[in-house]
């Protein structure tokens, strides 16, 4: 609004709606109210224990003042492709609950982000809640971002969630990149490569090389397209490696 990109006729402050601030666990998932501040998300004991990837992503958003005020619903609805929560939320398979006077509906993260700053929310809808599935034992996740400074947006961000079995074989892999496309994107080639293999260093390395296969990232002041492609592979390698070692620790 300050930049005159938007001049709405009316603004409704939903900050007073108490039911949107709750975090609770139910039926194998965590329901995170839309007004949950980034700072709460980063520090909440349920989130830290059951969805550490989300807590990790929230803890590196901007700076303390922004984390004290910004909300998960706001970040997702804004849909900035370089923001942290859209990428993290896509990786963990979060479901967005949208509400209007006509009722509620569920939207998968993968259907929610449509384009730069564009979501599938309808004109009369707000985000009410985000449902986050609790990963099974043997799971590990990591959120890593490369940025020009601690409180700048990501050049490349990678959110990874993997599950390994007792033989160290990867059973599920979700690898999502932010900052390299109009929306968060799954590195499908990497995911397919990792599943069914033991996550040894050379497998992680080879899988990460495929992360940039289908990307055509933008060039902007934060980095050229070539730089982003190289960094996408490099950050993916670190994030998958870290997730694998965390998964071993939790098994």
């Amino acid at each position: 609004m300050k930049l005159r990109l938007a001049s709405p006729k009316a603004l409704i402050d939903i900050n007073g709606v108490g039911e949107l601030t709750q975090i609770r666990e139910e039926n194998g998932a965590i329901a995170v109210g839309a007004l949950t501040r980034h700072d709460q998300l980063a520090r909440n004991s349920i989130i830290r224990e059951k969805s550490p990837l989300l807590a990790e992503a929230a803890s590196v958003i901007a700076d303390q003042q922004v984390r004290n005020r910004g909300t998960i619903g706001g970040s997702l609805a804004h849909a900035d492709p370089t923001a942290d929560l859209p990428t993290a939320c896509t990786a963990i398979g979060g479901t967005i609950i949208a509400a209007s006077v006509n009722g509620s509906r569920s939207i998968e993260s993968s259907d929610f982000f449509r384009d730069y700053f564009t979501t599938s929310l309808r004109q009369d809808e707000i985000i009410k809640e985000v449902r986050v599935p609790i990963p099974p034992p043997g799971s590990g996740g990591a959120y890593l971002k490369l940025s020009k400074g601690q409180n700048d947006f990501a050049v490349v961000a990678v959110a990874v969630q993997v599950t390994i079995d007792g033989d160290d074989v990867c059973r599920t892999a979700s690898v999502v990149l932010g900052g390299v496309a109009p929306t968060p994107v799954h590195a499908e080639e990497t995911e397919r490569f990792l599943v069914g293999r033991r996550l040894e260093d050379r497998v992680v390395e080879e899988g990460a090389q495929k992360a940039a296969d289908r990307l055509s990232p933008p060039s902007d002041i934060r980095g050229s397209a070539e730089y982003r492609l190289e960094m996408a592979k490099s950050v993916t390698k670190r994030a998958v490696g870290l997730s694998a070692s965390r998964a071993r620790g939790s098994a």
Binding site: S7, K9, D13, D63, Q64, V66, N68, R69
Partner: protein, 164 residues
């Protein structure tokens, strides 16, 4: 077109004192604090949420007051830099900034001090790294960060000693 002439009534508690004003719906909180209440210790640096010069405490947590409308602060409890000293006696954090030469031009100082206070509320004994992370939302164009970090450390030590 948005209605720019609409005025809203706002009741806020600032530094322990209750205020009531009618302001334009589009007025920013930082402008409200400076222009309506005359508390000009809260500065405007970038007006885009980057620099942290307008940092205040809103209901006990630091926020950037250029990123909120005044109307959103209705019924809230605000603390600004003016509320720290008691009877002309500087707050320990202000004293530490003074003693450690943690300010040059002084523009970022009110925001720095509020962010530092919030950090110590959370973490009474922060490491140097934690102090740096705690003030990452506050820019000092004089680049006097070294002494700012020293001041926060000194304030932490002094406050902890007092507490025991």
């Amino acid at each position: 077109m948005p209605n720019l002439t609409e005025r809203l009534e706002i009741n806020v508690r600032v530094n322990g004192r209750q205020y009531q004003r009618r302001v334009e719906s589009r007025m920013l909180l930082v402008d409200f604090i400076r222009d309506e209440l005359g508390l000009t210790g809260t500065h405007i640096g970038c007006d885009t949420g980057h620099c942290g010069a307008c940092t205040i405490m809103l209901n006990g947590v630091t926020i950037k007051s250029c990123l909120l409308l005044a109307a959103q602060a209705n019924h809230s409890d605000i603390q600004t830099i003016e509320g720290l000293a008691v009877d002309g006696k500087l707050h320990p954090m202000q004293k530490a900034f003074l003693e450690q030469h943690a300010l040059q031009c002084g523009y970022c100082t009110p925001g720095m001090i509020l962010s530092s206070l919030f950090l110590l509320q959370r973490n009474p004994n922060p490491s140097e790294e934690e102090i740096k992370r705690g003030i990452e939302g506050n820019l000092c164009r004089c680049t006097g960060y070294l002494n700012i970090v020293k001041a926060v450390k000194a304030a932490a030590i002094r406050t902890n000693r007092k507490g025991t």
